[in-house]
């Protein structure tokens, strides 16, 4: 499937960039004329995935976060958010609501649950010691 538009960015794993990532992705999808609610859903999911790269992937050490964003036919948005950090040993376990390996930092363990609830599809690929890629998909409902 060929994309109609795409965008690729990378930035250092500084928490300051969480807001930057939300803004860039929301500007990218704006051409699809999303509702305020759809835009908020996408921003929230992006915030979760990017924060995970920074907090867990790189454990707040220096690293690079990558976002590859695509728009396909029928207003389908696909976002690949990726790090080259520690990876996830047991993805199924990690995605369970309330599961967190950073409870002492007041992580709620709800990042994946939020991504799943706010997007149409969430896919996670990960290899220990190599990194993690989260793919988020959402179809913007055609203008009513």
């Amino acid at each position: 499937m060929k994309s109609i538009n795409e965008m690729h960015i990378k930035f250092p794993s500084k928490s300051l960039n969480e807001g930057f990532a939300r803004s860039v992705v929301s500007a990218f999808v704006m051409e699809l004329d999303p509702t305020i609610a759809e835009l908020a859903d996408i921003k929230t999911a992006v915030s979760e995935a990017v924060t995970n790269c920074i907090v867990h992937g790189y454990r707040r050490e220096a690293g690079v976060v990558y976002i590859d964003a695509y728009i396909y036919e029928d207003k389908l948005v696909v976002l690949k958010i990726r790090d080259k950090g520690v990876g996830i040993e047991d993805i199924k376990e990690a995605m369970k609501p309330l599961f967190t390996t950073a409870a002492d930092e007041e992580r709620a363990g709800l990042g994946f649950a939020v991504m799943q609830s706010f997007m149409d599809k969430v896919k996670v690929r990960s290899a220990v010691g190599k990194g993690t890629t989260v793919t988020l998909e959402k179809k913007i409902v055609p203008t009513r």
């Binding site: 929230t44 915030s47 007041e106 709800l110």
Partner: protein, 99 residues
């Protein structure tokens, strides 16, 4: 950075802007500092000026529930804007009786 009111043992903190992992630590310190000096019977977190929140905000709410509980107080969250109701509901914090 955060406006707050303290009256009749009730500490009200007015949260604002975007609550994410980047800002959560500062907000946490600001609130816990007040909790520990004032030891309120009730902590109210007012969300009316919050434009965005991800699950870092849920961690913040649960953490303050515990922090104020340690000094014998209770937590209430109020004025939740429409755009935050879904994440609040999904989180299950409502079952703590904070609404």
């Amino acid at each position: 950075m955060l406006d707050a009111d303290y009256k009749n043992d009730v500490l009200t903190v007015f949260l604002n802007g975007e609550i994410d992992h980047d800002r959560a630590a500062d907000i946490r310190c600001a609130i816990d500092g007040r909790i520990n000096t004032l030891r309120p019977k009730k902590l109210e977190l007012d969300f009316s000026k919050v434009s965005f929140m991800d699950s870092s905000g849920i961690g913040l709410i649960m953490g303050r529930y515990r922090a104020v509980g340690l000094v014998g107080g209770v937590l209430k969250i109020k004025n939740i804007p429409d755009n935050l109701t879904r994440i609040i509901e999904l989180s299950g914090v409502t079952s703590l009786g904070v609404l």
